[in-house]
Amino acid sequence: MHGVRTGLHVCRGNWSRQEDVLLTGDYTPLLPAFRNMHVDQFVLEYATPRAGELRVVGEALGGRELGLGCVNPRTDDAEDPATIVARAGEALQYFRPEAIFLNPDCGFGCFANRCVNEESHAVAKLHSMVAAARVLRERFA
């Protein structure tokens, strides 16, 4: 749609901190559906190994935008900006710098009574993403 950026967010569940009850697998089975969707950006999980390789979506949908999930909303410790920079470096093999957004894998509290994190940790994770974005912009400006 003209005049607004549209996105599709697909994750594997965000209701529990037990990673083993959340689903595992890359996005291969969803690629045919993704290709047919008229959205600008795919907002996807890539902060945990459960999500599979970036290559799967990169090779199929490199012409679109990627909302790169780069911090885990369900853990206490903020990710090192260097780790986020490295992940974005992988995404750059398939997407232009302008087409890459940095975001957490999912929300920090999708269910009011079952929030997966607390505010101080969420704030620290925002700071990590912003620090990573600064490094990336200097490198690719």
């Binding site: 607004v4 999708c110 009574n113 929030c115």
Partner: protein, 215 residues
Amino acid sequence: MFEVTQVGSWPRSRDLLRALRDKQQGRMTRDEFERVADAEVRRCVEHQVAAGVDVVVDGEQRRDNFYSFVTDKLDGTRLMSLAEMLDTVEDKAAFEEMLATLDVPASAIRNPTCTGRLQRREPLAVGELRFVQQLTDRPVKVALPGPYLLTRSMWVGAYTRKVYRDKTEMGDDVVRILREELQDLRDAGAAFVQFDEPVLTEVVMSEDCNRRTFM
């Protein structure tokens, strides 16, 4: 390039959870609840601006969850806990086992069950957007539940079959409502509208894709 944003939701404070419970149990008016939520959204946006986030969200502080909140906005819906829904599920044992296996608390997660013809009483998220726009000049992202998630969760046969022939007929109304909402959000100046479809992975990755999912 490398714009920083969020997927949408932010942790809730104790004050907000208490207010949400009071509203849901009729002990607090909607206006009173919105005043509590306003303060929470303000703090959430301040954190994002201070951190240097490029595209901000309201943290979904006014929402019970990212899709059940539509019951506040749509005619023909009723907020039901999964525990309440259990009464209507054909295979109760299997549903309970699924909730236990997945570590889903049946009383804490609520569903937007379709109990009548669906119609927007008010926009789903334009109010959320306008409030954030008062707080910052930064671009704003709004998340909406996707059409598949809404159709799948809202259809609870025991209630919905009385008003819609099948999921497809109800789904057409869901799509119409989301289209109208997307246009309204664009016209109100949203920079980014994101549709959430977490259940898609469950459909393609779990062994039995026809079972009742909790979403």
